[in-house]
């Protein structure tokens, strides 16, 4: 990898480690390989969102041309958010695409992603199903997003929705994959019949 990329990632890595946000456990970054081409990021679910208390892992790949081109980032932790694919974890965020600027850093990227969790942009969606639900039934979206955070991001289960858990368990007992069952239920307003149909087809 180009020298500038390695030197920068080293510095940025230290910047994140020393940052105020890291001290408050809001963001974290870890190295995956010795070449500084891949990192593991982590952001805390922001307060007063359905993601509160959750930990979201990110795959960060540093391109050869960094920092002139943005890092490639996606969510490894499954998440229910209009701008993040519930299937692949791909992110729709302008600064990771054409709005990238060479002065941005890992820290600003992680903080921007955290801000994205606080303020979704449903008109520029990555996951059309989630975005539709966000716009048409915000309450159900919130409950679903919270459920996903509890299921996948270790969010506290203090506001656990028993109905959701029961439905997922029922489908799992029928032999469906638990994650597929949750996805189908989430996409079909937690309607058992439609979710089952979706799973069979």
């Amino acid at each position: 990898m180009a020298n500038i990329a390695v030197a920068r990632i080293k510095r940025e890595f230290r910047e994140v480690v020393k940052s105020e946000e890291a001290a408050k456990c809001n963001i974290r970054v870890e190295l995956i390989d010795d070449n500084f081409t891949e990192l593991r990021g982590e952001i805390a679910g922001p307060p007063e969102t359905p993601y509160e208390g959750g930990k979201f892992l990110l795959e960060i790949k540093i391109p050869e041309t960094y920092p002139f081109n943005p890092p490639k980032v996606k969510f490894m932790t499954k998440i229910w958010h209009p701008n993040i694919s519930s299937v692949t974890g791909a992110i729709c965020l302008d600064i990771l695409k054409d709005q990238w600027a060479a002065a941005m850093t890992l820290r600003t990227v992680l903080l921007s992603l955290q801000a994205l969790l606080s303020a979704a942009e449903p008109d520029d969606p990555q996951d059309a199903v989630v975005a539709k639900q966000y716009k048409e039934n915000r309450h159900l979206w919130e409950k679903t997003a919270r459920h996903w955070a509890q299921e996948y991001a270790e969010a506290p289960k203090s506001k656990k929705d028993d109905e959701f858990y029961d439905k997922v368990s029922q489908l799992a007992e029928m032999g469906f994959d638990r994650h597929k069952a949750l996805t189908a239920l989430s996409a079909h307003e937690w309607n058992m019949e439609r979710a089952t149909q979706d799973l069979i087809s």
Binding site: R11, F13, R14, A101
Partner: protein
């Protein structure tokens, strides 16, 4: 894991670690102390090689990497310090195309005519055509072309072809000289 890397980085850069917190004279792209420093009109500091590469990466969207103000190679100001920055200019930096260094606008050197390279080459290029056109008119004073099929028309055609070749050879000679 994090402790390891922090240690490595600080070791490799010697005392540079302390600068990270201050960062006043760090390039906003490589985050290292700016080499061949330039400052944008919005006041942001960069190494020229770093900024140049950024501008090359996005030729159609030339924005300041920090504040996204408009920026271009002509609108950055080189900074010339007194100390080390003048010692190690081109030996350390990657070679960069000469013409792409930001130049001051009022560069009237005595050896050029016209304002810049473009006008000069244009003048030379146009010269043979002007010369041969006037030579042709002098030899043959008629205003209009001869009617087709006449010996004059044939002669004109041969002559113009000949002059075209001479012009081409002359231009080639100019280019080689």
């Amino acid at each position: 894991m994090s402790a390891d890397v922090t240690g490595d980085g600080a070791g490799a850069e010697g005392g540079g670690g302390a600068d990270v917190d201050q960062g006043t004279y760090e390039c906003n792209i490589c985050l290292d102390t700016a080499r061949d420093a330039v400052v944008s009109l919005c006041g942001h500091l960069f190494c020229w090689p770093c900024l140049h590469q950024w501008l090359e990466t996005r030729p159609n969207r030339q924005l300041c990497p920090v504040c996204k103000a408009g920026i271009s190679r002509d609108k950055v100001i080189p900074l010339y310090g007194r100390g080390g920055s003048q010692m190690d200019p081109r030996t350390k930096t990657p070679p960069r195309p000469q013409g792409q260094r930001p130049e001051p606008e009022n560069n009237h050197g005595g050896w050029t005519f016209g304002d810049g390279g473009f006008q000069m080459s244009f003048g030379i290029g146009a010269f043979p055509f002007g010369f041969f056109a006037s030579a042709f008119n002098f030899n043959d004073g008629r205003p209009g072309p001869a009617p087709p099929g006449t010996p004059q028309a044939e002669e004109e055609r041969v002559l113009s072809t000949l002059f075209l070749w001479i012009a081409l050879i002359f231009m080639f000679w100019l280019l080689m000289a």
